[in-house]
Symmetry: C2
Subunit: 231 residues, 2 copies
DNA sequence: AAAAGAGAATGATCTATTTCATTCTCTTTT
DNA sequence: AAAAGAGAATGAAATAGATCATTCTCTTTT
């Protein structure tokens, strides 16, 4: 399931991540000593909501779906995590438990970094602390947005939002729609799969998009934005 | 609407907040120089969602309702902010805009602290940074919980949650229920006022609580917890 | 004291969305 | 090549909860 390997060659590339630029040599050494590089295959779980968390994950390569789980196998998708992002930061401080689940959407290369290493560095390097705080703020803002969409908008608006979000990833990851199925879109929009399928067809009839095999070609962004706004 | 005043006497008490204990004298001086103490009356707005945010608020005394706003005057309540908590921390780093609104539930005494002061101290004092990060984590965890309640539970479970939450505040603030009206409970549970009223009556008939004038006396916490869990 | 207004209570209707049941269309397995 | 299975598509029925309309009960205003 996971392949663990670690070489100096690999190590060189992670230092180059902008997030680690503020670290001193000593601190880089600390991270280096307490990290493991892991490869996940498509569909593998990176974190499981509710599980004990002793490490933080840092995505080097690949895409990861972040989602929360409810009863009866229900899920709600929060975002697609991209290279350069952390997973499980919140568990470093408050409770030792993952707030959410994460699963590999593509093959992924990920660092596992021990919580204590991160914590230790923040304590001594305020600049690194600030960069981590920024991550928290982003997650926070995302959650506020998601909450508002979920509570104040209905079906059409929420699916429009979802489509716009995925479309925005398409520039960097052209095959993103092909990696997701109807169930994934439904869980982003917080609606049932059947409603998603029906609504996609309606959107297609209204010339907002074209359903082409597994791909979805967005044709009228501004109209989708309007739907997102009004509904 | 707001009364601004600042005396050395007032100042002495804010240093005693546990959150500011890790600061050096120099840093305390910095906070001191860039803060203003403000008094809000019941019903006054402390922050307005979407407004420009150049400062952070720190609640010294009183209770504040934190909520998000949607279209058509709809709101969703997140929590009751208590003395010792910050308001608007996220705006310090990511975008300069308040993610949420906050309104005084009782008369409040609040510090306004300039963002730059907070930011400067975090950069130099890792320990203070950690304590601030903890705040972010708490807000984060709250948002995850709220999201799950809203999406995976229905009416009964959500109202049960709300009642348990407010009840948990009752130890410290015995008159908390009297400060909230049906609309507030509805907005915590994310349901309509009418549904809230009807459901409260059902809960009363089922001996889970007693509606006594404006107060609500919770009688069967464990049954409410069960309802919260199942639905 | 009368009038007005806000919040609470209650029943009837309406509706957005889910759930269920079925068919279709591929891809994968045997 | 046949069989099996997963995802997608589609219509009909069911339902949770909102909305609407009205009454009731206080408190506040005049």
């Amino acid at each position: 399931m996971k392949t663990i390997y670690e070489t100096d060659q690999e190590f060189i590339c992670d230092i180059q991540s902008p997030c680690f630029q503020t670290l001193s040599l000593e601190e880089v050494e600390l991270i280096r000593a307490s990290k493991t590089q892991v490869q996940f295959r498509k569909g593998d779980s990176l974190t499981k909501q509710g599980a004990f968390a002793s490490y933080v994950l840092f995505v080097m390569k690949g895409l990861v779906k972040q989602y929360v789980e409810g009863d009866n196998n229900r899920s709600f998708n929060l975002k697609i995590i991209q290279p350069g992002e952390f997973i499980g930061l919140a568990s470093v401080f408050s409770k030792n438990i993952f707030n959410y689940s994460a699963v590999a959407v593509t093959e992924c290369q990920v660092f596992l970094i021990e919580k204590d290493a991160i914590r230790g560095i923040i304590k001594n390097n305020g600049l690194f602390g600030l960069s981590i705080i920024n991550r928290y703020c982003e997650q926070n803002t995302l959650l506020f947005n998601v909450l508002q969409n979920l509570h104040f908008k209905q079906m059409n608006g929420r699916l429009a939002d979802t489509l716009l979000y995925i479309e925005s990833l398409k520039k960097t990851f052209p095959d993103i729609f092909m990696l997701l199925q109807r169930k994934d879109l439904a869980d982003f929009a917080g609606i049932s799969v059947e409603s998603t399928v029906k609504l996609l067809k309606v959107f297609e009839k209204d010339q907002l998009l074209v359903l082409q095999e597994k791909d979805i070609l967005i044709k009228d962004i501004s109209k989708l934005e309007q739907i997102s706004k009004n509904g």
